[in-house]
Every structure is written in C-alpha cells, then in structure tokens.
C-alpha cells in the first residue's frame, strides 16, 4: 500500500516545464473559455452518446495495462480517467483549477496510450481513447502540453519532420547510406524524386537522425527485390505525426497532407512505410480524415504488409532461418489499427525457426507502454512510464524468448526502455533487421514470367 502511494505521488510530483510554464500563463477566464469552446463546438453526437451511455460498470478496467501495472488502482481504469478529466470539466462547466489541469495533463498524456484496447472491452464500444485525445486537445489549446512532445510538434510545424532534420541533412544521409550499401550491391541506388516510380518509401525522422542503418537495410531489401522505388528529397518524406497525439489537429492535418502530396508529385502507385505504428495511424486513419479523405488518397502499405508480399511472392528469399527463439509484439496501430497481425505471424514463421506466442496477442495485445505519444513526453515522465509498464514487462518475461520482434518504432524504443529498466534478457528487433540478416543477397529475376 505504501509503495502504491509513493508511486502516485511521484507521478504527481513530475515537473514538466512545458506544463508548469503553460499553467502559469493561464487565467480562469481563458481556462473556461477554451474548455467550453472545445466541449461545445468540437464535439457532437458521438461524445454525447459516450458520456450519456456509460453505465460505469468498470469492465474497461481489465483492458488497461496501466491499470493492471498499478495493482488495479481504481484511479487508472479507463473510465476513471474520463471521470477525473472530461466529466469533471463538463460538471464544472469549464471552471476548473490549475491543479486540476495539471492532473488532467498527466492523465491524458502520461497515463493513457490511446491504444483503444478498452473500446474492445466495453460492451457498448465506448471509445475512451477519443475522449482522452479530446482532453489533450484542450491541453493543447491551453498551451500546457508536455514540453518534449510539444517540441516535436514545433519541429513538425517548422520542418514538416519530427526531429528538426534539415533538407540537406536528409539528402546527405540518404546518399551516405546509398554509398555504404554499394559495398553489398554494386549498383544499389536510393533513387530520389524518381517520377512515376511504383513505390514511394517513407520513414520517420528518427531514422535519418540516429537509425540510418534502417534506411540502409530497407534499400538493400528494395534493391534485392528488384523494385521500382523512390524517396522524396523534399518535405513530406516523414510519415510520423506527433501533433495527432497532442491534439494539434491543424498541424496534424498539414503533416498528413504534405505526405500525400509528396506521393502525388512523384506519381507513385503506393506509399510503403517503414516499421512504424503511430505513423501508420496518422496517414491511414487520422490525418486523412482531418483533410477530408474518408480513406487515404494514396494506397498505403505498412512494412508488415510489404514484407509479407515480398516473402510470399518469392521476391525475397531466405538463405537460412533465424535460429534464436523469437516472440512477436503486435503494435496496436497495425494490429488493432489495421489487422496486420496474421500477416505478421506468417512472416515470423517464414523467417524464424522457433516462435513463441505472447499472451494476450493480436488485437488484444497490450500496448508497448510508449505509444500514443507517451514516450515522446520525454525524460520527465520516463520513471512513471516504467512503473506503468510493469504488466507489459511481465507479459514479455512470460514468453521466455530471446528475441522480441516489434515492427514499430515507438514500440521498439518503449520496449528497449522496459528491458533496460527491469533487466529483462531480451533483444528487440525489427522485421527489417531479421530479413536483412537471413535473406539471400541477390537480385530477384523475373524467371517465372515469360
């Protein structure tokens, strides 16, 4: 019991400069004005139905890994998060204190991964993630978003990528990777701005910033598979979208639009994206809606889907199966968000010798604990995040696998944090890492075609 109290007070004691400074600027008038504006102008029938239909049965609690990680502390159940944030705002007609807002920022930004698992556990299918994003929208409009994630949004806004990558840096990085990869394949190219290519390959900004090797691997896979592909040299190459998670929908829409436009300018048939979950959610499910597209205007293929195609069609051949026992983490945004979990399993079975299922899995998998912009809230929130990820750690440990495949950048970083913090003996890998390791390094020939 004592432990539990110290944990929560720790979470309450987190000092986030973005939040603190933002709060100091606020006046009661501004608070109630913004809250009422969002609640009356930006919500409709859906929100009303959710708020009025919830019977407070508490069944959503078991869905939330953060609730489970905190010894079933009732304050962490999904419905409790709604009760402590948006319901209170409705009840008080927006007249809430700064102290309340500080808690609301913490709950919406650090204690909810907007993973939508709870909407699968609510008999009425109430979308609590949507309501948490609404709280974040209010926080954004009140300018009390946590500092680190706000910085990524600022970067998006100024550069159209998440990591302040400059245009020349971007091109330079691609050329550097191309040069390195030519040691393996003499004629390998990372074609920039190739008009009319079949595929536009897109990545998230952390790849050129500090994981350039992933671009290398992707180039090798593309080249070996003999594909007609390209990457844009101008803004729009980054598919990530942190604004989507801070409630800055205007910038979120701009980011998605820039991405589609990059593809449109190059007249490609489809966008293939690297192994990232939230980026997929942004361009497949969220960003398109803000700019008025029911479904994305360009065909979007997530890496899992793409690799599945390459491996089952024989464009990429396996030299020797991967030996170590692996387990698979289903990223929320591509399993619960796109149903790619079965394909992911088929890939694992093609690539690896022994596969151990993680439970729960598929649509029911627990979030990595980093998703929904939680990891992007940065160092101030890392300790509370680790505490909130205990259930995930236990889930990982139960598999006993040596290698953990996580086909998502967010998950990857979050899971590495868990492994380091709790001392789990596991190695996190992308599908790309494993494919690169076990594939035949020869160029695919269209033998079967006449």
């Amino acid at each position: 019991m004592q432990d539990k109290d110290t944990l929560t007070t720790n979470a309450k004691d987190v000092i986030d400069e973005g939040v603190e400074k933002g709060l100091s600027r606020l006046t009661p008038e501004k608070i109630s004005k913004v809250i009422n504006q969002v609640l009356t102008k930006e919500t409709g029938a859906r929100f009303k139905a959710y708020v009025e239909t919830c019977m407070r049965c508490g069944l959503c609690a078991d869905a939330c890994s953060i609730f489970l990680s905190n010894d079933r502390d009732p304050r962490f159940s999904p419905a409790a998060k709604v009760k402590q944030t948006i319901l209170e705002m409705i009840k008080k007609k927006g007249k809430v204190s700064k102290l309340f807002l500080k808690d609301a920022v913490r709950i919406a930004h650090a204690e909810c991964n907007v993973c939508k698992r709870c909407s699968m556990y609510c008999p009425f299918g109430i979308d609590i993630a949507y309501m948490m994003l609404l709280v974040r929208r209010i926080c954004h409009k009140l300018e009390i978003t946590p500092l680190y994630i706000q910085d990524t949004v600022n970067s998006h806004s100024a550069t159209m990528n998440q990591m302040w990558v400059k245009e020349d840096e971007w091109i330079d990085t691609l050329q550097w990777q191309e040069e390195d990869a030519r040691e393996e394949f003499k004629d390998l190219r990372i074609p920039l701005d190739k008009d009319g290519a079949d595929i536009m390959y897109s990545v998230i900004a952390p790849e050129p910033k500090f994981q350039a090797g992933l671009i290398y691997q992707a180039a090798v896979i593309m080249h070996a598979a003999g594909l007609n592909w390209t990457m844009p040299s101008t803004p729009g190459w980054d598919n990530s979208n942190m604004a989507m998670f801070t409630g800055d929908f205007e910038i979120s829409g701009r980011i998605a639009k820039a991405h589609y436009e990059a593809a449109a300018k190059l007249h490609v048939n489809k966008i293939v994206m690297g192994e990232c979950g939230h980026a997929f959610r942004s361009v497949y499910d969220v960003g398109n809606r803000w700019i008025g597209w029911t479904m994305p205007p360009v065909k979007l293929v997530h890496a899992i889907d793409f690799y599945h195609d390459l491996l089952t069609s024989g464009r990429i051949k396996i030299k020797e199966k991967y030996k170590k026992t692996v387990t698979l983490h289903d990223p929320c945004n591509v399993s619960r968000g796109r149903g790619l979990h079965e394909k992911a399993r088929e890939i694992v079975n093609i690539l690896c010798e022994s596969f151990i299922e993680m439970t729960p899995n598929r649509e029911h998998n627990y979030c990595c604990g980093a998703g929904g912009g939680v990891i992007n809230c940065g160092p101030p929130w890392k300790n509370t995040r680790m505490v909130n990820n205990r259930e995930k750690k236990e889930q990982l440990e139960r598999t006993g696998a040596k290698v953990l495949i996580a086909p998502c950048h967010n998950c990857h970083s979050g899971l590495e944090d868990i492994i380091e913090y709790y001392g789990v003996e596991m190695e996190v890998k992308f599908f790309g890492d494993i494919i690169y390791e076990v594939m035949e390094k020869e160029i695919y020939q269209k033998r079967r075609l006449k």
């Binding site: 919500t43 409709g44 029938a45 859906r46 009303k48 139905a49 959710y50 009025e52 239909t53 019977m55 407070r56 049965c57 508490g58 069944l59 609690a61 078991d62 869905a63 609730f67 079933r72 009732p74 304050r75 159940s77 419905a79 409790a80 009760k83 909407s119 699968m120 556990y121 609510c122 008999p123 009425f124 299918g125 109430i126 979308d127 499910d285 809606r289 029911t294 479904m295 399993s335 619960r336 968000g337 796109r338 149903g339 729960p360 649509e363 029911h364």
Partner: protein, 219 residues
C-alpha cells in the same frame, strides 16, 4: 379510490408508453440532428455489415474476451437484461390485463415461473449494488445516482413480488407497483437508462470503424 386505480392502470399506462416512445424518438431526432450538424462523417464510416457483426458478436455469451474476464458479472448481467424484458412482458397478469382491454394476447409464463424469475432479477440487482460497493474500480466510478437507478429498476419487481404473495397492504403495494413501473418507463429515454437504445449505436459505430477501416475484430 377506484377511479384513481382505474386511471393508473388504464390511461396512465398508455401515457407512460407514449412518453417512453416519443421520448426515444425525440432522443433519436436530437442525435441525428447533431450528427448532421457536426459529424456527418459518421454515416460515411457506418457499415451495416460490420455494425451487425459487432452487435451479434457481443450478444453471444462468452465470445468477447471481456466477457470471459468477468464471467460472474457477465452471466448475471446477461440473464438480468433478458429477464428484465421477458418477465414483465410475459407475466400472466399483465397479459390478461392487456387482453381484457385491447384483445391482444400472447405467451405467458406460469405464475410460479415468473415468481422465481422475479427473485432472480431482484438478486441480480442486489449483486449489482454490492458490486458497486465492494469492487474498488467500480466503487471509484459509482455516483449516488447509480444506486437510485438500481432502486428505480428494483421497485416494480420488489413491489410486484410482494403483491403477488399478498404479504401485506395489498392494494397499496399494487399501486406502488404500477406507479414505479410507469416511472421507470417514463425515465428510460431521459436518463442513463437510455443505454437500452443508445448502446447498439455506439457499438455499431465502433464495430464499423474496427471492421471496415481497421480490419480488426472488436470483441
């Protein structure tokens, strides 16, 4: 006295049904108006196929993982909701009263069956009440009004049970029974009881999103 009884067992029943019926229509009109004003996209994403897929999946006991996580609560809740409709609709006395006034008639349980099922309903409500006090995550979410709701649902069944057994103050029990039943009916469209007709819609929307956009199950 007789005219009062006649009123609450005659015209008042129809008035309550009308308020219930028009209340539901009113709520729907309001909802559709709001959708048309602000969230017209809902129609775009609503899919009949996936709406029904989701609703049916959730009607099958223990198919959704969530139902397997809390089997006791789910079983009781499932049976409770079923009986909440069945018992009043198929109660011999109710069927008779309707038959005598409008000549419609349908299947009715034997009195002894209804008696037992009423007890099941009452015990389910007691279970819900205890759960709200005992289970921490539910207790945290519970407001005083939640107990009032349980009371409003329970009243017609408790008074009906007592009246059937003619334990005491028979006439007053019947009057309380009739009035509390009518009260519940009138309150349904305007309170949280509206989940009776709203839940299929929230389920359907989530089911549609999960089915046609996300290609995933939602149970």
């Amino acid at each position: 006295m007789h005219s009062f009884i006649h009123f609450i067992m005659g015209p008042m029943v129809w008035i309550s049904f009308m308020i219930f019926f028009f209340g539901v229509i009113f709520r729907f009109l309001k909802m559709f108006k709001l959708i048309n004003e602000k969230e017209i996209f809902i129609y775009t994403y609503m899919s009949l196929k996936y709406s029904f897929r989701s609703i049916f999946a959730w009607l099958i006991p223990f198919l959704p993982v969530s139902t397997r996580k809390s089997p006791v609560f789910y079983s009781i809740s499932y049976i409770f909701h079923l009986l909440l409709f069945l018992v009043p609709v198929c109660l011999l006395s109710h069927v008779l009263l309707i038959e005598e006034s409008v000549q419609w008639s349908w299947f009715a349980f034997n009195d002894s069956v209804s008696d037992t099922l009423t007890l099941v309903i009452i015990f389910s409500l007691i279970f819900f009440m205890v759960r709200r006090i005992v289970v921490p995550e539910v207790k945290f979410l519970t407001k005083p009004s939640d107990f009032i709701f349980i009371l409003i649902v329970g009243l017609p069944f408790v008074t009906g049970f007592l009246a059937f057994h003619q334990f005491f103050a028979y006439r007053w029990l019947v009057i309380a029974h009739v009035l509390s039943g009518e009260l519940m009916l009138i309150l349904i469209p305007f309170t949280r009881f509206s989940h009776m007709f709203m839940a299929p819609f929230t389920r359907a929307y989530t089911g549609s999103e999960f089915g046609s956009v996300r290609h995933a199950k939602d149970w």
